[in-house]
C-alpha cells in the first residue's frame, strides 16, 4: 500500500475528531497489500468507540501510520482460515501497528514531530485490534493476560481481503 493511498483512505473515512495526518517517512506501508484498505473504516469506527480512552484527553486523534509489526503473533489460525501471509512460517499472523497522535492542534499541517505518538496493534489474521500490552502478551506468549482488545474487524471484509491475497500469491 502506498503511503498516500493509506492517508487517502483514512481521509475518506475521517470523522470530526479522527483525522488523517500526512507525515511522509514516518512509516513504511509498502508491505501491506491494498486488499486490506477496506478494513480501515472498521479500525476508525473502533477508535471512535473508544475515543475518550485513546485520545488521552485531546480533542483530535490524527492517524498517520500503519506498518508491519516487529513481532508476529503465531498460532494455527492462518492455516485453519487460509490466511497465510508468511510462507516461510505459516503460523505467523499478519500483524501491523497503527500509529496516531492525540493532539489539540486544529492545524494538522503544522505537525512534523510524532515523538509522542500512540499505537494500536492490528491483527489482520484474526481481525482483533489490541493495545500494546495485550499484543506483546500474545506475541511473546507471556502468561499474564494484560491489556485490552478494543474490537474486531468485520470478518466478511477480512475474508474478501484474504481471498484477494491468496488468489494473487497462487498465480
Amino acid at each position: 500500500m502506498d503511503y498516500r493511498h493509506f492517508i487517502k483512505i483514512v481521509s475518506e473515512h475521517q470523522t470530526p475528531r479522527i483525522k488523517p495526518l500526512y507525515l511522509d517517512n514516518s512509516c513504511a506501508t509498502k508491505q501491506i497489500p491494498d486488499d486490506f484498505s477496506n478494513a480501515i473504516i472498521d479500525i476508525i469506527r473502533i477508535i471512535d468507540q473508544y475515543f475518550n480512552e485513546l485520545s488521552k484527553g485531546k480533542p483530535i486523534i490524527a492517524i498517520f501510520g500503519l506498518q508491519m509489526a516487529c513481532i508476529a503473533i503465531e498460532s494455527k489460525l492462518p492455516c485453519a482460515r487460509n490466511r497465510i501471509f508468511t510462507v516461510e512460517n505459516k503460523d505467523k499472523h499478519f500483524c501491523c501497528t497503527l500509529s496516531y497522535l492525540p493532539t489539540a492542534s486544529e492545524d494538522l499541517q503544522q505537525i512534523k514531530d510524532w515523538t509522542h505518538s500512540e499505537n494500536l496493534a492490528i491483527d489482520f489474521t484474526s481481525g482483533f485490534i489490541m493495545d500494546k500490552e495485550q499484543y506483546i502478551c500474545k506475541a511473546l506468549h507471556l502468561s499474564n493476560s494484560g491489556g485490552k482488545t478494543y474490537g474486531q474487524i468485520n470478518d466478511q471484509k477480512l475474508r474478501a481481503a484474504w481471498a484477494q491475497v491468496q488468489s494473487r500469491t497462487q498465480h
Binding site: Q31, M68, C70, T97, D113, T115, S117, K132, I136
Partner: protein, 135 residues
C-alpha cells in the same frame, strides 16, 4: 543462549513505535540483556553521551532524527561509541533502503517482522566477536 554469559550486556533500543520498543525490550531482558529506550536519534545521542552501551538496535523512520542520520553521526564522531555495533530494524524492505542503511554505518539490518531466533543468534555472534577481540 546462556542467560548470564553475555560479554556485552547493555543495549540501547532507539524506536518511536511503543509496541516495537516494549516488545524488543521484553525479548532482550528475557535473554539476560539490560535494555534502555530512546524515542529518536537525537535522544539516543544524548543517552550515548551519558551512559555506556554495548550495542544499538535502531529503527529507521523516526521523528527529529532518523536511523540513517543517527548511524552517520555516530560513525563520524570522535567518541568512545564511534565503533559501537548498530543493528537497524525496519519495515522498509526495498533493497535501496537496506543499502542506504548499510552505507550510513549500520552493521546489520532486520526487516519487520523480526525473526526472534535469528536476532538471538546475531546477538550471540556479535557477543562472541566482542569477546574474541578483547582477549
Amino acid at each position: 543462549m546462556e542467560k548470564s554469559n553475555h560479554y556485552f550486556k547493555k543495549i540501547l533500543i532507539v524506536e518511536d513505535d511503543a509496541i516495537v520498543k516494549y516488545a524488543v525490550k521484553t525479548i532482550l531482558e528475557d535473554i539476560g540483556f539490560h535494555a534502555e529506550l530512546a524515542s529518536n536519534g537525537q535522544e539516543a545521542l544524548i543517552f550515548l553521551q551519558e551512559k555506556k552501551f554495548d550495542l544499538i538496535l535502531s529503527d529507521i523512520n523516526m521523528p527529529i532524527m532518523d536511523g540513517y542520520e543517527l548511524a552517520k553521526k555516530i560513525r563520524a564522531s570522535n567518541t568512545d561509541f564511534k565503533h559501537i555495533p548498530i543493528i537497524g530494524i525496519t519495515a522498509q524492505i526495498e533493497p535501496e533502503n537496506i543499502q542506504k542503511a548499510k552505507m550510513s554505518g549500520m552493521n546489520e539490518i532486520f526487516t519487520k517482522p523480526i525473526n526472534i531466533t535469528v536476532l538471538k543468534k546475531l546477538l550471540h555472534t556479535l557477543n562472541h566477536k566482542s569477546e574474541l577481540s578483547n582477549i
